[in-house]
Symmetry: C2
């Protein structure tokens, strides 16, 4: 049997036909057209899924189940998308509607949960007893996995590591709280910190890109030794390491997996973060979690969604 | 069979003979004499245990095992007390030594783990699937429990909720880090915040106790409407609620249990904390954990230690 995994994004819907081991056999995508009624978007999710299955040389008869990763809150028990701000969805019965189109069991979950699950089943944290996945993108998504299963918590609201309060009187967060971890450890945070450093070093190479500055610009400039960028990236890796040390103090997983845009900085990110976690953790002489980069990258969305049906 | 539970404190050693259901049948205590060599302290632990067993009308033949709660880090697998600053202990082979005295299996664990475990087995969180225990004392201890078992983490360093970073550029912590949660949510923190409020309200009733101010003084004065104490207690409950909301975002337990000195404030603490967690949590429209006061109070140390042998 094969599994359909759908990565529902604000811009594109990507669907893949995935093997039981988590290998993408074929994929297809289509623009989301998020402004349309949700029924039309879900109909396109079904169509693009069929295209991916066909491209893999299989038919719908070979498909065991369909999983969807949603950039919002999907109830894993009911398959209802409770909120999805990017798409303007509220209480959308995704499972019911997509099962009506494809006549297969449908699973839905938050996109960070899905990506962390993919890594734990088919990526860098495969075979571990426990892992925490952090996606460093526009915000910071998280996922805590025990024995290959997502830890949803008692009310299915666990894994929002981005909204742990890290600086209670600090930066206002889009969630309404103040000082959330994602205000210090997301790609968005790296841009803000970069702009603050630029104000102190107006001769930085970042000055030319000030209005359109990206997290990647800051990373690239830091690699060349630009003072503002180095200062910003150093502050950023300190915040990320502090957060990881905090999460060790709560759940102490076997491994942390870093995904999302900022993780593309590779060893340039990983080396200082590992060093700073080693320095900042509470029990300085005891062993502590490995910290690794995600292995599946953008494919984690499709793979994790597909594998939701294998639990 | 009965179980011996020992609460090893910096001042006293309290031992209890405990039933399988977690009821203390009899207890005895002796001063710790922490300045003595550890062998002498452990010999006294054995003697006071025998007294408690005798007082319960049982003999050592009725004892299944012995558990010890330690105000420091005890490795639950080896029974070695790795650090215990209060007693000046470092790598003390507690299990080996106490087994040599009592000829029964010995279990050792951190005192906050033991108290949280007691509540989950015989107290307010009994029968829950998951719980987080927070002890609000000199510091903030923590414990995360799943299915009636302490979640130690992959490296046995989980449950240090007091050292989650809550204000990264804030108050220096005794652990060497900055802005740890316990600097804002412990009894010690309530005293500091009370003194800060007193500086803004010099006519407060707290002024008379300035040098010897306790957390209880601040709570008592807040109950009478004293402006400085009310301001301090309001800030304190906000910090505690923010921390609880953060821990919901990571693990979302079925219930939080508040123990330690500050929890003696009862409903005066619980009411604002519940209200503020409801207001500050991330998913405002979804269900969230119950928050309750510990039920076993000071007995949790003996009961939880005794029940370590029943897992």
């Amino acid at each position: 049997m094969i599994y359909i995994g759908i990565d529902l994004g604000g811009t594109n819907i990507a669907a893949g036909a995935v093997s039981e081991e988590g290998r993408i056999l074929a994929q297809a995508s289509v623009p989301t057209g998020a402004q349309r009624p949700w029924r039309e978007v879900i109909r396109d999710m079904a169509e693009v899924s069929l295209k991916a299955v066909e491209a893999s040389g299989h038919s719908l008869d070979d498909v065991a189940s369909v999983g969807v990763g949603v950039p919002g809150y999907a109830d894993p028990d009911t398959g209802v998308v409770v909120f999805c701000t990017n798409l303007g969805w509220h209480d959308v019965p995704l499972r019911e509607e997509l099962e009506g189109c494809l006549h297969k069991p449908v699973y839905a979950d938050n996109d960070a949960n899905v990506a962390g699950f993919a890594e734990a089943r088919a990526g860098v944290s495969r075979g571990t007893h426990s892992s925490v996945f952090l996606t460093l993108g526009t915000g910071v998504g998280g996922c805590f996995i025990i024995d290959g299963k997502i830890w949803y918590g008692a009310h299915k609201v666990a894994g929002e590591m981005g909204h742990v309060i890290y600086n209670f009187d600090g930066e206002p967060c889009t969630c309404g709280a103040t000082g959330c971890f994602e205000r210090y450890a997301s790609a968005t945070a790296l841009i803000r910190i970069g702009k603050e450093a630029l104000a102190r070093h107006p001769d930085s190479v970042l000055a030319a890109k000030k209005e359109t500055l990206t997290a990647r610009d800051v990373v690239d400039a830091a690699r060349t030794g630009d003072a503002a960028a180095c200062e910003a990236f150093d502050a950023y890796t300190t915040h990320l390491a502090n957060g990881i040390s905090s999460f060790i103090n709560v759940v102490d997983p076997e491994i942390f997996v870093l995904g999302g845009g900022v993780s593309k900085a590779g060893a340039f990110l990983l080396d200082p973060v590992r060093r700073k976690v080693e320095e900042s953790r509470f029990y300085k002489t005891l062993p502590f979690p490995r910290i690794e980069l995600s292995e599946l990258g953008n494919d984690a969305g499709i793979i994790g969604a597909a594998l939701l049906g294998t639990v």
